[in-house]
Structures are given as C-alpha cells and as structure tokens.
C-alpha cells in the first residue's frame, strides 16, 4: 500500500496540534505530518518525495514568519513532482488580495476560515484526499473508509 501524507503548516504549535487532532480519524490509513513554516514544509516535501511517499494535501496558515502560505502554495503548484497535490488555506487573516493571489498563483483548492469547525475541516480534507487518490491513479479500495463517497462516485463515472 502506498504511503499517503497530509501536511499541515502553521507557526503556532497549539494551532497545529488542534488541526492534527481534528484530522486524526484519517490515520493510520494516511500519515499526518506537521511543519512550522514555509521553509520547514519545503524540506519535508523533499524528504517525503525522496522516500517515494505521496503528498495528497497541504493545509497551510497564511500569516507566518518568513514566506506566507500563499507563497508556499504557489511553489507547490509550480513543482511538477506535486502536480496532483491538493492545496488548502486555513486562515483567519488573509486579506482580499491574499485570497485572490492564493487562487491565481497558488491554484488553491479550498479555503477554510479560522476558527474552523472540525467536521467541516475533516470533510474538506476527505474530499481533497479522494480527488488526489483518483487523479493520481492510486488504488482507492484500501482507503474506502476515509474517502468522500460523493466525490468518489463522480470520479468513477
């Protein structure tokens, strides 16, 4: 079975812990990883990729020291290795311009407002995960229990 990763990026450890906790129902079928910022996330991406792992979803905060979430998502969007990776912004602070940038430059797949509802966040990530699995041609059967059925059906037909 392929190793599928979901990466959460936030500079505040408490927030990061909360996101990881909310996504825990997805484990152990997928691995949850955390990164404290853009640079840390890029290192992690390289590492996982070099070990042959899949990166299904990156969920990033917007305002962080160094580069912003939008910068990170744009870098991922322009990297051939991660062409199927789904990108979400989880933030309470993005301005109108940030959001436009994230959509245009970062090819954003979803935007979640802070504070978030755990169920909503989980269902968004499930949907993105399903899209990733179907688009990158991974055998979906082993992941059935954590996939979004509606998305799965639409992709199967």
């Amino acid at each position: 079975m392929d190793k599928i990763h979901i990466i959460c990026v936030d500079d505040q450890p408490e927030v990061l812990d909360s996101v990881l906790r909310d996504l825990r129902p997805l484990t152990p079928l997928v691995r949850l990883e955390d990164a404290s910022g853009t640079a840390d996330c890029l290192r992690l991406l390289d590492q996982i990729d070099s070990e042959g792992g899949h990166i299904a979803v990156v969920i990033s905060d917007q305002v962080m020291p160094g580069e912003t979430g939008t910068d990170l998502l744009a870098k991922i969007a322009n990297d051939r290795r991660f062409k199927h990776t789904k990108k979400a912004l989880l933030t309470g602070q993005a301005t109108h311009a940030d959001t436009i940038n994230a959509i245009n430059e970062g090819q954003l797949d979803n935007y979640v407002d802070k504070p978030w509802e755990p169920e909503k966040l989980l269902s968004v990530v499930k949907r993105l995960l399903t899209l990733y699995i179907m688009e990158s041609g991974i055998e979906y059967q082993p992941y059935m229990s954590i996939l979004d059925q509606k998305t799965l059906l639409s992709k199967l037909h």
């Binding site: 408490e14 812990d17 484990t27 404290s36 840390d40 992690l44 305002v63 020291p65």
Partner: protein, 476 residues
C-alpha cells in the same frame, strides 16, 4: 483694517478726513469705559482713532428686566474694533439709532463721530451723505465677512481636533470595557484549567501511576521545540520501537536524547504505546493554560491602555515592559524579525509599567507599519536596553535607562522629522490599519512627563529611536 481696491480706498480716506477730524466731535474714552450700551439710543457713527474696543452681545433681555450690571458676567464677545474701524454702522444707516452691542474700550481710546444732524460736505460734487459713505459700508461689509470667515474656520479646526480626540477616547473606553468583560471570562478559564489538571492528575494516579506520570509530563512540557527536530526524532522512535506515529511523536517530546530515553525506565515505552493519549491530554491542558495566560496578558495590557488608572511606582523592570509590549504585538510582528539585546543588570526605575508598554508598542507598531508600507525586504526590529550612569554633570544628573528601538525600514525624510511627534501627523494611508496620528505624540508626551529624552536617527539603512528615562523621577 481690510485693504480694498484704490477706487474704494481713496474716497474712504477723503471721508475720514472730511467728516472725522472736527475736534468738537472727538471723544476720549478711558480704558473700560463704555462707548455705547446694548439697545441704547445712539444717533452717532463712530470712527476709532486710537485704542481697541470690544463689542459684546448680551442675551436678549425679557420685558421689564434690566441689562446686566457691569459687575455681572458679560455677554458673548462678538467682535473687536481697532483704529480705522467704524462702529455703529448698522444702527446709523438703518436709522434704527439703537445699538445692537455693548461696546467697551479695552484701553484708553479716542473716537471721532458724526451724527444724524451732520450735513453732507460738497454734495454738489460727491452726492448725498449716503452716497459719500458707500465706501465705508463696503469696507465694513468686507471686514465683517472676513471676521465671520476667520471665526468659522477656527471653529471647524477646533471641531476636527475634538472629533479625533473623541474617537481616540471612545476607542480607549470601548476597549477597556471589552477588556474588563473578557478579563472575567479568561480568568475563569485560567483558574479552572489548573483545578481540572490537578484533579485529573490525582484521579489518574489512583488508577495507574504511569498514566498520571504521562499526564504530568504533557502538562508540564514547557520547553521550546523545533518542529523539524521532533519530526525526525519521532521517525527514529517509530522504527526503533515499532510505535504508532502519534505515540512516537509523544516520545520525541518526552525524550530528547538517548540519555533521557534511558532514564524513563523499563516498561515505560511499552506502556506509552497504548496510553500516549494521557500525555496528549496533559498537553492539551497545558495549551489551555498557556492560551488563557496569553489572553489575560493581552487583556491586562488593553485594559491598562484604555483605562489610564495608573500610578508610578519604584522598582519597575524596563526589560519586562519591553517583553510585555512585544507580547501585545505578537500578531503584528509575525512577519518581522525581532532581535532583543536586553541588558541583564538593568536598574529598575520609578514608572508606570503601562505607560512604558505604551511607549514601546507605539514605536514598534509604527516601525512595522513603515516597513510593511514600503515593502522592506527582510524587515528587522532591534530593541536593546542599557544603563547610563550619572556623570555628576549637567548632562546626566541621574542614572538613566536607555532603550533603543531600531529598524531597517525606509529613512524618515529630514523635513518631517520634527513633525512626526506632533498630534494628528500620520503617513499611514493604506490597508485596514487606520492611523489616528496619535502614536508618536503619545510617546513624546509620556517621555516628557518622565523627564526623559527621545533621540531620532534615520538614514537609508537604519532608523532608530533612543529613549532615555531617568531611574528616579526628576521634579521641576
């Protein structure tokens, strides 16, 4: 006196010469003397020759009641008349012959007058008296217009300043009110977190001491961690001990080295594998506690900033006030690198910590805005504190604490350096932040009140504000 075009000024001069030079119609009025009372019958038109007069308008009197005595409160000042102004123009030319104002000499003065019996001079050349006096009327109209215009613009300016001050004070009161409410809520969360953690810990201990230990380790985990370190250690532990990812991560938090790992004792890791959630529970309580402390710190600062119920006391740690200020600005300074070089053996000073926090937040906040607005690359703010010792001379009469806040943002142009400390001066235009233009004026006011000094240096590479505060209050 208003200057009018020549074709008005020449006839005006003639009128003054012809009508207002007769020694029989010149009066001396001593300082404080009345030229005319309000509503008094007066058939004269005056030209002020010397001294100044002030015209008052008393509130309309009720029928049968008297005008206020001179010792009573005067009415509202309406205008002042200086030499070469005309007085009682309206009552004379309207032929009402009743003065609308109470006119009093401010100093020993002299006036010339004509009355309703005065005949026109050379009417065959210059026309009737009214015709000859048209320049006087024009002059008076222009003067009154000018007076009203000046009054209105002064009033508008005053109103504008008042509105700004009111806005700032409303914001202050509003935030103090909100802070007060939040303070109670945050207080409950903070206190209860401690209670719950203590109880939980002893409950767990009754059942299984190792679970209580895991909980405690999570609750007391206060070290600063680097996400990447934890991640790589967790990977090692995951493989080495065949742990679930979450359990390995918990172990990575608990044991940071092989030494620490060995100290945990036999059976600990096996127990952890199934019960790592107790550590997480403790860690959650720790986060709750930290978040509520952080919130109450902010609430305290906001309350103090808005409330202003403060007093200056000795023994204040300036370094702590700098840390408080940075705490308050956590969100703002996220995108800026903050370097602090705080002198460890700084003498304490006599101060109000709130006011100090206010000084630092305003300067740091301004520096952030300036750098963001100009898209400074790699913005850095450096804050250092040092002690300056009294030199026994005039220059440093006492010990000082000096705090320098510098940034690598844009240069403050020479021409505005003097103005940045004035109220209502702002360069902030864009974004959601609105500048009240009060920040640095507050800094100046506060520093002055401590008998301190502000020095500003600015060039392409570095802009720095150095605040010197005396360790003891300087009086006088």
């Amino acid at each position: 006196m208003i200057t009018l075009p020549d074709h008005i000024m020449r006839p005006l001069k003639r009128v003054n010469r012809v009508y207002f030079t007769d020694p029989d119609r010149i009066l001396a009025i001593p300082a404080g003397g009345e030229l005319v009372r309000q509503n008094e019958e007066c058939h004269r038109l005056f030209l002020v020759l010397r001294g100044n007069f002030v015209a008052y308008r008393h509130p309309e009197t009720f029928e049968g009641s008297e005008l206020p005595e001179e010792t009573q409160v005067r009415g509202q000042e309406v205008f002042r008349a200086e030499p070469r102004s005309y007085v009682c123009v309206q009552s004379f030319f309207s032929r009402s012959y009743h003065s609308s104002y109470h006119i009093v000499a401010l100093e020993d003065a002299e006036v010339a007058y004509i009355d309703d019996k005065t005949a026109a001079v050379e009417p065959e050349i210059y026309g009737s008296l009214e015709q000859q006096f048209i320049p006087v009327l024009v002059h008076e109209l222009a003067a009154r217009n000018f007076r009203i215009f000046t009054h209105v613009s002064a009033k508008e300016e005053a109103l504008r300043l008042l509105q700004r001050a009111e806005m700032a004070s409303t914001l202050g009161q509003l935030s103090a009110g909100i802070a007060h409410e939040l303070n109670n809520a945050v207080g409950v969360i903070s206190r209860r977190t401690d209670f719950v953690a203590d109880n939980l810990s002893s409950f767990l201990g009754e059942d299984e001491p190792l679970n209580a230990r895991l909980f405690r380790l999570g609750y007391e985990d206060d070290s600063f961690v680097v996400a990447a370190d934890i991640r790589s250690r967790a990977r090692e532990y995951e493989r080495e001990f065949d742990l679930p990812q979450e359990a390995a991560k918990v172990l990575a938090h608990i044991a940071r080295s092989q030494d620490e790992l060995a100290k945990l004792g036999p059976g600990f890791i096996k127990h952890l594998k199934k019960n790592y959630r107790f550590w997480e529970l403790g860690h959650d309580m720790r986060d709750l506690r930290m978040a509520s402390r952080h919130a109450s710190g902010i609430v305290r600062a906001v309350k103090l900033l808005g409330g202003g119920t403060s007093s200056r006391e000795p023994g204040v740690d300036v370094n702590q006030s700098v840390r408080d200020a940075l705490n308050l600005l956590t969100n703002k300074i996220k995108t800026v690198r903050i370097c602090t070089e705080l002198h460890e053996q700084l003498p304490t000073i006599t101060a109000d910590p709130t006011e100090l926090v206010q000084i630092w937040t305003n300067i740091v906040n301004n520096a952030c805005d300036a750098m963001l607005q100009s898209d400074t690359s790699e913005p850095v703010i450096t804050i250092c504190s040092t002690a300056l010792h009294a030199d026994g001379l005039e220059v440093l009469p006492t010990d000082y604490v000096a705090v320098t806040i510098s940034n690598n943002g844009p240069e403050i142009p020479e021409e505005i350096r003097d103005r940045i400390f004035q109220p209502n001066f702002t360069t902030k235009k864009k974004g959601l932040d609105f500048g009240l233009g009060l920040g640095l004026s507050i800094v100046r006011r506060l520093v002055d009140s401590y008998g301190g000094t502000i020095a500003l240096h600015s060039n392409n590479n570095l802009t720095s504000f150095t605040i010197n505060l005396p360790t003891t209050q300087i009086h006088g």
